[in-house]
Every structure is written in C-alpha cells, then in structure tokens.
Symmetry: D4
Subunit: 220 residues, 8 copies
C-alpha cells in the first residue's frame, strides 16, 4: 500500500493518528478514514478541500465538514461538559481559519474549548474585556498574523502556558508569516512556546497533551 | 578637504547638519564641530566613543558627552520650558541607548522631551500607568527590540503620530533587529511609521519636524 | 458576530475605522459598511475587487469605486477647498495603484491632496519641475518601487515630513519590494519614515494625522 | 531608577522575576539581586559572566555560579526529592551550555530535573538506551544544534510535551542556529513546541509551568 | 537548431544524456527523444507533464509514462536481476514524487533499486523494521521534506554512502524546502552528501555512478 | 609552490595579474610581488594591511602604500597626462576607502582618473555642481553605501557607462551592503551595471577595459 | 496624461526611450508607441504578451513581434553590416528568452549582434569551439541561470568587457535566480559586471553604450 | 563523564570516530585522544588550534599538527602506496585550509590522495593541464569559494563522482559561503553532490567510503 497506517499510535502517543489532507486524493483519504474509524473513537482530517470532503461524506455521512477550518471530523460521542477548557485566542478575523483548525482539533481530541476571537492588541480593550476567561483556561492557543504581538501581551497577563501560532496573514514585509513567527520566538514574555506558521493543528495537539496531563494527574 | 560641510542646511532643512561620528577620526570631528558652532545655535555628534569625545572636549569644553546615548552635544541656550513635548517611550532597559540617542537629538534641536522608559508589553500595567503622559505628547518616538510589539499596542491607545524604532537588542531568531523591524512594519495599528534599526537619531529628527510644524502653525 | 466593529474608534483615534477588504466576502463588507455609514461621515473600504464593490454598490449606490486604487469610498460632504494639502508623489506609472490608495484614503479622511506622479529619479528634471508644489505640502507621501531612491532625493529637497511607501513593483532582485523597502529604511536623508510595502493606506493615514495636528493647532 | 523591579510578578505569574544578566553592569545586578532576595525564596541571574558573578558573590556569598550555564543562583531551601521530574535532553556536548541554563532555571524554580545528555540522533542507540527515563518525565526540554533532528525523533517516542530549543552550535549553512530552528518548527512529530535559539531559560520556564500545573491539579 | 544534442556524452560521462522536460514543448521533446533513441540503449525525460508525454507516445508507443514521477522512459532491454541494488528511502507519502523520479532514473540507467517508503523519523519503528534492507544497499538515496531529519538518523545506522534529497514538501517556516536542505547540509552524521531541493534525478545519477564503480571494479 | 603566478595574463587579459592581499602572509606577498615586477610595468596589491605593506616596502622601497585604499602599488612610469579620464564618484566620506581602491587600481593600470567625492543624493546640489566633469568621463565608477541611490540619479544625467559599486557602509537594515546592492541591481536608470559589495578594484578594472577599448579604437 | 513621454531622451542619453510593456494596457502601449515612432528611428517594447502585440500591430503593421523574447520592435532602416559586433552568449536552451530580449534590444538600437547559444560550462567543448567568435566581439552579454558559472569561465578567456545576466531558470535552491546572481557578483574573473535577474534588456543597453563609444571614438 | 566515546563506531561505520576540536578544551581533547589511540590504528582531531595541539603533543609526541588544515593526526602505519587515489581539487590559494582538512582526513583514514590546487575556472588552462590526473581518481573532492563554479566545470569533464565543498572565502555578496553553496547545489553538471560550507572533513569522509567500496568490491 501507499501508506502504512499507524494503528498503535493511540497507545503510544495518547491520541489517534490525524490525517493531513493536503496532497492526498479523495480516494486515498476515504481509504485511510474508513480504516481509522473502526479502531478509534474519533477521526480527523485537516487541510481538506470541500470537494474531497463531499466525496468522503458520501460513504461517511456522519462526518462533519468545517468550511473555515477546512477540517473533516467525526467523534463517536460528544465529550461531557466540564469546567476546565482550552482557550483559543485570535487577533483578527483573518486568522479565523487557523484558529478554527485549532478549535476543531482540540474538540475532536475530546477537549472542551472556548473561542475568544478578534482581540488583537491594536484595540487593547477587547483583550482586557476577555482576560478572565483566558486566565481560567488550563492552557491557551494564541493565534496572530501580521506583527504577531498578541502572545507577548497575553503572556504578561496570564500564568498558564501559551502555545503561539503565527499566521501567514498580511502582506509586504510580512513575508508569508515570517514577521509573526520571529515576533513570537522573540517574545519577552515567559510561558510562550511556538509552532509552525499556520499550524493550528499542532498548537491544539500540544495544548491537548497538557490539558490531559493536568486533568488526569499525569496519566494520558 | 575630505568633506564639504553643508552650511545652508539649516535654511534648506530647518535644522542644522548633525555629525555622524562613526568612522570619523577625533581630529576630523573636531574640525567639523568647530566649523559648525560658529554658524549654528547647536551642534550634535552621534555615535561617538568616549575617547573621541574627550579629545573634542579639550577644545570645546562646553560640549556635553552622554555615555549611554554616545552623543556629544552643545546648545547655545537651553530651550524655555513649554507645555508641549515629544514622548520618548521605550520597552526595556536594554533599549536605553537608542532611546537616549533620540532624546538628546530632540533636545539639541530645541524640542522638550519626556522619557517614559521600561514600559514593555509583557508587563502591560507599566504602560497603562503612563498612558496619559504619552497621550499628551504632540508626537511619540517608540523604541523596542526583541519582538517589537510596543508600537502596535501604543498605536491603539493614542491618537497622535508614533515614530517606531526597532532595536538590535535580543539574540537568536532576533537576527540583529530584523524581528522588531518586521513587527513594526506590519503593525496593525494605524498611525505608526518606522525608521532604521537602532536609528534613534532619525526617529527624533522626524518627530522634531512634526513638532515644529504643529507648534508654529506650519512654518519651520 | 464574526467581527466586532469598533464604533468608538473615531473618538479614540480621531478617524473612523477603515475596512480592509481582502479576505472578506461581499456580504460581510456590505454588513460592515451599512453599520459604519450610520454613525460616521465617511466610509472607506480598501483592497476590494470590482466584483465585490459592484455587489455593495447595489445597496449603496452613492459609494464610488476607484479601479486603480481598488477602493470603495463614500463621504457625506466634500471637504471645502483650502490652501494646505498633502502631496502624493510617485516614481513611475507602475506605482499608481499604491499612490491612488493613498490619495483616496486621505481624501476620504477629509484632507485635500495634490498628485505629483511619474517623477522618478532616473529623469530628475521631472522631479525638479514639480519641487515647489511638493515643498508647499504640509507633509508628503512618497511612493516608489524598484530601487526606491525617490524619498532619499526628495528628503534632501524638502523640509517637511515624508512618509515613504516602498512598492512591490519590479522583478528579479527586487524580491517583491524588499529592495525598495531597504533603500527607504537606509535613506541618508533626514525627515523620512517608512511604512509596509504597498501600504498606501497606512502612509496616507499617518500623513492625515500630521496634517490635522498642524492645521488645528494640536487638536485632532 | 534605571529599572522597575516587578515584585508582584510571583503573584501574577507563579514564579519570581528572573534577571537577564547580559548588558547589565555588575553593580546593577547586585542591586537587583539584593532587592529580590528579601521578598522571594529563590533568585536567578542568567547570561552572567564569571567576573560579574564574582563581584556579586562578594556580597552574596551563598549564591552559586555555574560556569557552563553562566548562571548565578540562590535558593532558600533545597526542594524535597520527589518522583516526578523534568527531563533535560541534549544532542551533543557542544549543546551543554544551553542545556545547563535550562537545568539550573528549572531547579531554581523548585522543579526536580534529570539530565540526559549527548544522545544525538546520529548514534541512535544512545537515545534508545535512555528512552524510559525520558518517557517517565512530566515534560521534556530537548536541546539540539546543527540539524536539530532530536525533537522529531523524540516526539515519535514519547507521549508527554516536548519543549524544543535550537542552539547556535554548528558552522556554515547552520546560519547561527537557523537550521536547527527551522527543523524544529517543521517537525513532523506532534507534541513539540519551540522557543528561541539558545533560549534554555525560556524552555525550562515553559516546562516548569506545565510541571506545576500537573502536580498541583491545575493550581500554580 | 535550438539545441545541440550531446551524443558523445555516454562515452564522456558513462551515461547517456537525460532530457529535462520543463520549459520544452512537446515537439521539441519528440525531436530530441527520436534522435537519442537511435544511438542509446535507454532514453529518459524528467519533469514532463502527462499531456506532453501522450504527444510523444503517439510516435514512441513503447515509452512508459510514470504519473507520480512525471517521467517518460524507454529501455531497450530490462536489466537482469542481480543481488546488489540502490535503496530509495523516503520519509513520507508526500515525498513520493521525488522518490519515484529517483527510482525511475536509476532503473533507466540500468541499476536495480529497492523502494523503502514512508519510514520518517517520527515513527522510528518503521525505519528500524527496514534497516537491514537499507544496510544491504551499495548506496542509498534518502528523500525527506519538512525537517529533513531522515538522513541524519540513517547516516548513524548504515555504513555505505547516502545521497540526501531535500523536498519542498511542507508549509510555513519550511520556506519551499529550505528547512530540509539546511538540515541535511548540517547533518552531524558522516557519509551524507546533498543535492538540490526536489532533485530526485540528480541523487539517483550520483548513486548510479557509485554503483557502477563498485560493481565493475572502478570501470564505468 | 603554494601558488602558480599567471605571467601570461597580461597577454591574455590586457592587464597584468593583480594581487589580492587578504589571507596571504607578508612573506607570500613579497615573493609574488618580486616575481611580478620583473616582467610587468606595474604591480598592485589590494586589501593589504599597513603592517604587511611595511614588510614588503623594506625590500621594495619604491612601492607606495595608500592608507585609505589599503593598496600597495608600483608603476614603472607615470602615465602622460591626457584629456580623457575615468570619473570616480562617491556618495559619502564613509565610502572613501572603496572609492580610493578604485582610483588607485585605475591609476596603476595606467588610466587617468578624476575624483568626485561626497556628492550623495540627499544634497543634490553637490552632484549637480559637478555633473559636467562626470559627463566628460569616458566611463564612471559610482560608489555608494546605505540606500545606494546615487547610480540611479547619475544614470539619468549621463550618457556613458556607469559601473556601480555598493558599499557595506551603514547599519541596521543595511545588512552589510545588501540594501545598496539591491538598489543598484534594480536601478530604473539604463547604463548601469554592478559589481560585488565593496569591490572598488573590480569596478575600476571594468572601467579600465572600456577606457582602453575606446581610446585605442578597439585594441587593448 | 497617465505618463510623460521623455522625448529628449535620445539627445540626453544617446538612445530613444524603450517601453517596458509589463503592467501597461494594450491601449496605453499603442498610444506611447505611436508618439515615439514619429520622432525616432526605432521603437522597442519589452515584456509584452502576444495578445497586446497583436493589438498594437493592427495599427502598426510593420512592427515585428518576437515570441521568445516577448518584444515588439520597429526600425526605420536595417543597420548596414559591419565587422564589429556584440556577442550574446547563453548557457542553456532555457535561457533563450532572456538572451533573445538582449539580442533584439541591441539590434533595435542599431548594433550588430552574434548569437552563441547553448554553450554552458557543463559541456565545456561547446564553449571552447566558439571562443574565437566571442573574443572577436567588442563586448559580450553573457546569460546563464542555475549556478551561473558561465561568466566566470568566459571572463578568464576573453579580454573585452562582459555584461553578465543571471536568469531565474532553475528550481529548488535556485531561489528564482538568486543563485546565479550571487555567482556572477562573486566572479573571480575580472572584466565582469552584472545586471538584474532576467534583465536581458539592461545588459544589451549597457553593451550598446560601450559599443557606440568604441566605434565612434568616444562620441555617442 | 562529559562525553561518551563511541568505540564501536569503527565496527558500525567502517571508520573510527574523528574528534571535532572546536569548543573542546586541550585537556578534554587529550583525554579523548589517549582513549581512542589504544583501540584504533589512527586518530584524527579537526579544527584544533596550534596551542591545543602543542598541549596534546607533549603527551603524544608522535602526533602531527598540520598548520593549514588545523588538524592533529596520528596513524600507526603509513598506507602502502597504490595506484588508485582520491583527487583533492581546489580553486584558489584561499581555499587551501579546507582542501588540506580534506586531504589529511582521507590520509588518516588510510586512503591515498593527490592534491591538484589553484586550478580555478577563471584561468581554465590550469584545470585542463591537470584534467587527466583528476580523471584517474576514483572519486574527487572539489573545493571552491566565491562563485563556486569549479564543480560544474569539472563535472562536465570527468565521469566519476565529485563531492563539492563550498568555502566561506570571499566578501560582500558572498554571504559567508552562501554564494558558493547555492552554485554547487544548482550545478547543471551531473555527478556532483554537496556538503556543508567549509566541511573538508565531511567531503573526504564521503569520498573515503566510496573509495573503500570500490576497491574492496563492496565490503568496507
Ligand atoms: N490597505 C490597508 N493596508 C493596511 N491596513 C489597512 C488597510 N485598509 C484598512 N486597514 C486597517 O485595517 C483595519 C481594519 O481591519 P479589518 O477589521 O480586518 O477590516 C483598519 O482599522 C485599518 O487600520
Ligand atoms: N536567558 C534568558 N533568555 C531569555 N529571557 C530571559 C533570560 N533570563 C531571564 N529572562 C527574562 O528576562 C526578564 C528579565 O529581564 P530584565 O528585566 O532585563 O532583567 C525575566 O522576566 C525573564 O522572563
Ligand atoms: N530533473 C532534473 N533535474 C536536474 N537536472 C536534470 C533533470 N533532468 C535532466 N537533467 C539534466 O539536464 C541536462 C539536460 O538539460 P537539457 O539540455 O535542458 O535537456 C541533462 O544532461 C541532465 O544532466
Ligand atoms: N571538521 C569537522 N566538521 C564536521 N564534523 C566533524 C569534523 N571533525 C569531526 N567531525 C565529526 O564530529 C564527530 C565528533 O564530534 P565530537 O564528539 O564533538 O568530537 C565525529 O564523529 C565526526 O563525524
Ligand atoms: Mg505568562
Ligand atoms: Mg493611533
Ligand atoms: Mg528633508
Ligand atoms: Mg509525542
Ligand atoms: Mg554513515
Ligand atoms: Mg545613462
Ligand atoms: Mg576577462
Ligand atoms: Mg560528471
């Protein structure tokens, strides 16, 4: 076969394998997805176009497509509502796509999320108005493009870990996200670590590991 | 001669020529400085080492050396105190050298300044505690290294123009100030324009032009 | 809602919020625009395609689309003609799109502009022929691509502030505007500050703040 | 004063302020350190040279200088030994300085660490021989220079979070750590987030926050 | 003519000229291909689209098009099966296109290959399960994108030479293959040399020269 | 021997070999220089420190050291004065070192030069005052650092060829001469070609070839 | 008007203005072209698509479109054949487009050219077979992509000036021509100067100025 | 201990471990060296300063220091002279240090080498005069700085593999070896693979593996 599906992954890594849709055909995705759903409680495909999603949904009608996040997801059972959560914070409306990829990823992994969107630093009151909800999160995913200043400001306001995601939103000297990436790596606030440009999935995965560690006393 | 001093500059540009000390010998600087002081009301040398400054001061004992800013300055007459001013805002103690270069430049050009230092965004309360003084300024110079987020936050809080100066302070993915430079160019706040990395002089010069325009009704 | 419109912005910043059209749907833009026009005296959308503009104009027939600038603008009342103005200077015909974005932005903010186009440094006489008009401006926006030399030459000829805008016009070692951007940041002329590549809007906004400060004695 | 010490930081952030020694004089560091020790249970200075450390130790003889890490540290009381720990993993002997900065930082923050050094991927058996100890850690700090491949391999072998630190170790196309930085950001392993080049301090700080969250049930 | 076909190449270089299809018209390729087949025992066109290949196949019906590798190839006689071989190793399914270009190139040059695909370092067991087959190869071509860590790990496990090929697979801080390229150039494993990003052809050509040298006692 | 001196070079290239002093010991330079002077009418060493020059001068007392250009030169006979010349134009006093390297190179090759220094574009009148002398040159070498705008302006004012030399003079976003290099490569003026950063020698060599072609009717 | 045509250019620069077609509409080009032809003996448009050329040709039927060069050209009178010429040398068939732009430019400026194509350094005999024709040229334009090594080899073989043109031909670590550009700037051969990536026009223009100087004894 | 010496390496990799001297103290090197010599037939330290070498030689008087290569080497027995060899080819005298590191490395690994130095492409005859000796080598190491064109030219002239080493020799747009590195990666000659900038050791190691494979029929 063209791919070796990693069925032991859940045991080894605590979460089932997640499918990276880009560069795979609709047929390949369908094959993988059908194999995964028989042995796991959730299945997630990221970076999948509407066309391919529709193709898969013909066979897997209970899979949900998220237009903005470009994800196709299925969970056997909705997680029960709990008090603790991951905060998904984003700076501008243009960052929504990456923020939603993070949100859907966390939810599919069974973690409750709260969305705090459009709170960029150029209108500080929007962030300050929502700071208590972010402080209440076990861990935050913080998404920003352009100058990527949000994690620095947030890092000074909250105690818990922040996973920063630079986005490629912007133009000119933004250089496809380089500007936000460098900002976040150089953040003078402590408690901030960084993932790849536009990698909403990776940030949520990191946040999910931390969340599970905290709320299960160190056992994944 | 090795250099043509531009004595018409004050008439043409509104301010006398300012000497860039780097790469000039102490003797060259002395010659230029003596020529300038006879026809102007102030003289400023930037990026000059203590050694060279001491050499010049032997002949020009009323010139003042600023250790942190690395400037040598002389003004015929202290400006009378007035209500309006330029704010020199800086993020961290490591940015002091650039901030002071800006402050001394403005003062030598006859403009009152107020210093608001060490108010970086990772400890937001420090900025908010001083925001009224910055709002009161005709124009602000905003100096920051590392992720260079301060102008973005400030730009959302004040109405008047902000001249942003990225500094080369930082390490690793800071790439000698590139990180702060890109942040400032991509600022999502309006009212922010940018000068070269570590160019405190240039920022103050821009701010001084604006200040003079405003407080003399359009006449420099 | 997908976006929080910032209706206090005019009070806080002196100018109403301006809509960044890129990445928004025609429907989203229409919603925002209708909300803004009820509470402001002007509305501006930048980086909007003809298609989306036409969609909005169906409901808002008094909005004007500028093909070159790619802006959609509406002002309640034309500004009365006055003597003072902002100069929009550009180097070549390829820079027109950015220069027009600047011009429309300033006009929508209620500031008179004069356009001095196609005066690049490789044909110096064109610039010198127009230098008096540029000298008469309160502040200039100076737009140039390729080697971006115009602000340096202009900076030596005029006293008032210059906001330089590098454009992405060029090819090869231009690297999408990097060449012009670096030139402008390294300008050896004083009185020049810089905004992001192709950011005609930002330059005009900066110029507008300065203009208002000057012509209203420090009150925005 | 030249600096505003942030005494509320421990309350706000869960850990006391840590002093960045680079660019501060020995006298400045001494002043800060004496002020901090009266109100905290530990004090840490990073990036401090032996000379400056010796100067401080004259007044603060119970402060310990770590030659490799270039840290000066003091803790009121040694932490009681516990079963859980942070793993500090590093690829080669040249990465020791950054790894030790991380180790000392964590220890000063009161967190037990285990050092697993010189286990780079070009001699895989060294890593596999130590994998159980790394798997036992609540969270790992993973330090590597040159091609920075270690976090990717480790990420596939362990479940808990990994904070990756690229180092500037290498030459030629290493470009001062860029090579390792890009590797880590592009890691195809999940559960890896990244901090700035050579930022052992930042990685340990992130790991410490996570450790405290996990072992105190969500309360810092 | 628009091109001078190098018919002495086989004598000079040991292998016939291989046609680089990109930027050539279908007609040009056909002309070259027909000229080459009369004097050689194999013909290979790389980077050729399906459309152009179909056009050539109308005249040359025994030419085979490989969809994934985007190659068009013809060999007079299949090579006899032998025990020795080149290993083509690749990290992920997205690298398949480059790996197949390498495989087809080697096969067309008359060298037996074995494909070991989808053995990236984030799931180390997949590599270890196949290590004996790779160790058995005279020389390996090792293809990887994203962080490009595979050659470093492989280099520590095998004795024979490894030709590493970075691919442009990835996104964000991958910068079109720069990340994998730098990783491979900085590999701390010995026995690894590198070719251009996505250059499967070049890697296979290098491997083929080595293979022929080894199995013919130094005579090509 | 450690080096093969190219004694046929004058016949092949029209000019004798010129010695690149950097990275050679004083002894090596002396050996080469003594060998060259026996068969040529001039000898030139570039990028040589005062110390090494003094060492060579002990044996070769008629060699002249130029402190600013860092050249050591000897000509058998001064060239007779003629009307035609190369213009060496430079923007600022900091570019003097590169300009002098160019001037000494041309002179040693037997070409008359005229120096037009300190005529950067930020004070345009200085250039315009000297334009007739530059127009009179057969070919110009144009040296500039920082934003490197001078060749663009000059290119629009003169007809004859311009060899542009970017210098590494500047700081911050100058990136060691990258800014001036890109400016010159993107010059919108025709008639400008470019050599490496700080390569005064190369520019003068190019100019000398052109000069000789012109004034000897095509025969070198 | 949208553009100020520079009719004095021929007098000032020795050659008439040449039209850069990119980014202009067919209508704009037609207007300019008709204006230019009345006052000049030749007209040249570069970087013009077939579509726009056909549009112009409807009015200007004696204009010739060159498909490969993407130029539209007209000369009042063919130049008389002479013995001297410019050599246009190129490395591979993929560089043809840039080489032809250079050739057409020179021809339209009235300079005889000889084309020596497909003589890249990887098959050195092709270059050596043609070296006498290149040595016979007054000046050479040397076009190469990928590693851009041709000017270095050529520079060691010929005496007269070489204008090197890097092309964007290549892939991967070619970075759109950066690789060839850097090679040419760092050429260890003397007598080589460089123009922008893909700038066949600029190279030919430089060569034409030199040619005219040489063959008219210093008078353009 | 501070380091785990890899004594099984010779069995696993075919060659004993080689010590990277940079960043190790003289004492550390001595310890490692004494441990290695008891179990191997040769010992090599690269990148070691004269001072440290002298320290080691006090205990190990039969170790030889190579000033140019900066290596310290010992072999139990000189290799018997044989007909086959590795060619170490280099472009200029400034590349000698890297070439010698390669030569000493190969010799210490027991492989005969021939040095063909100072044969850069700008004086082609020097290369052509030596081409037969290079053609006779089993494999060549090809070292070049500046534009790094030598491997491209060589690759077209020889059949056997070439390991190319870019050096950091040059200045300006050389960017510390980037220029030569990109040239070599983009070489249009087949049979060329590349190692890190200045990595003479790595190139020789690769060449040594190939040499051993060829001359021992596939057994290391
Ligand atoms: N062309 C433009 N370039 C950069 N910023 C812009 C532009 N047009 C509008 N803006 C800014 O974008 C903000 C609105 O962004 P948004 O909320 O995404 O519509 C406004 O406050 C402006 O400051
Ligand atoms: N080695 C280090 N690298 C990065 N940040 C550090 C380091 N050491 C301390 N810091 C941070 O620097 C801040 C103190 O900076 P300062 O006020 O300049 O001493 C602390 O709050 C820490 O978050
Ligand atoms: N995919 C490829 N990547 C790089 N070089 C190639 C490729 N395919 C063929 N070549 C080389 O390109 C040369 C032919 O180029 P051309 O004359 O343009 O067809 C051959 O001699 C090969 O060495
Ligand atoms: N000059 C060199 N450049 C790159 N790698 C080297 C060099 N010299 C030795 N090495 C490698 O470095 C390893 C030893 O590193 P270390 O354990 O730090 O001494 C050896 O196994 C070699 O593979
Ligand atoms: Mg925090
Ligand atoms: Mg503002
Ligand atoms: Mg000015
Ligand atoms: Mg993991
Ligand atoms: Mg190996
Ligand atoms: Mg000209
Ligand atoms: Mg030559
Ligand atoms: Mg070859």
């Amino acid at each position: 076969g063209f791919v070796k599906i990693d069925h032991h992954r859940k045991r080894r890594q605590g979460f089932p394998e997640i499918v990276f849709g880009e560069g795979k055909t609709a047929e390949q995705i369908l094959t993988i997805v059908q194999s995964l759903r028989t042995r796991n409680d959730s299945v997630l495909v990221t970076r999948i176009s509407r066309d391919k999603a529709v193709f898969v949904q013909k066979e897997c009608s209970d899979f949900e497509y998220n237009e903005i996040a470009r994800t196709l997801a299925w969970v056997r059972e909705k997680p029960k509502s709990v008090d603790s959560y991951i905060a998904i914070v984003c700076a501008g409306t243009s960052d929504l796509s990456v923020a939603e990829e993070a949100a859907v990823t966390a939810e599919t992994l069974g973690i409750p999320v709260r969305r705090i969107y459009d709170v960029g630093v150029a209108g500080l009151h929007r962030l300050l108005d929502n700071i208590d909800e972010i402080r209440g999160a076990t861990v935050s995913v913080c998404v920003a493009g352009m100058e990527g200043a949000l994690p620095s400001v947030l890092g000074g306001l909250v105690t818990n870990p922040i996973i920063a995601v630079p986005t490629s939103i912007g133009y000119g000297a933004n250089f496809n996200g380089l500007s936000a990436l460098l900002s976040m790596l150089n953040s003078c606030a402590s408690g901030v670590s960084v993932v790849n440009i536009d990698n909403g999935f990776g940030a949520a995965y990191n946040a999910a590991i931390i969340y599970k560690l905290v709320h299960k006393g160190g056992q994944l």
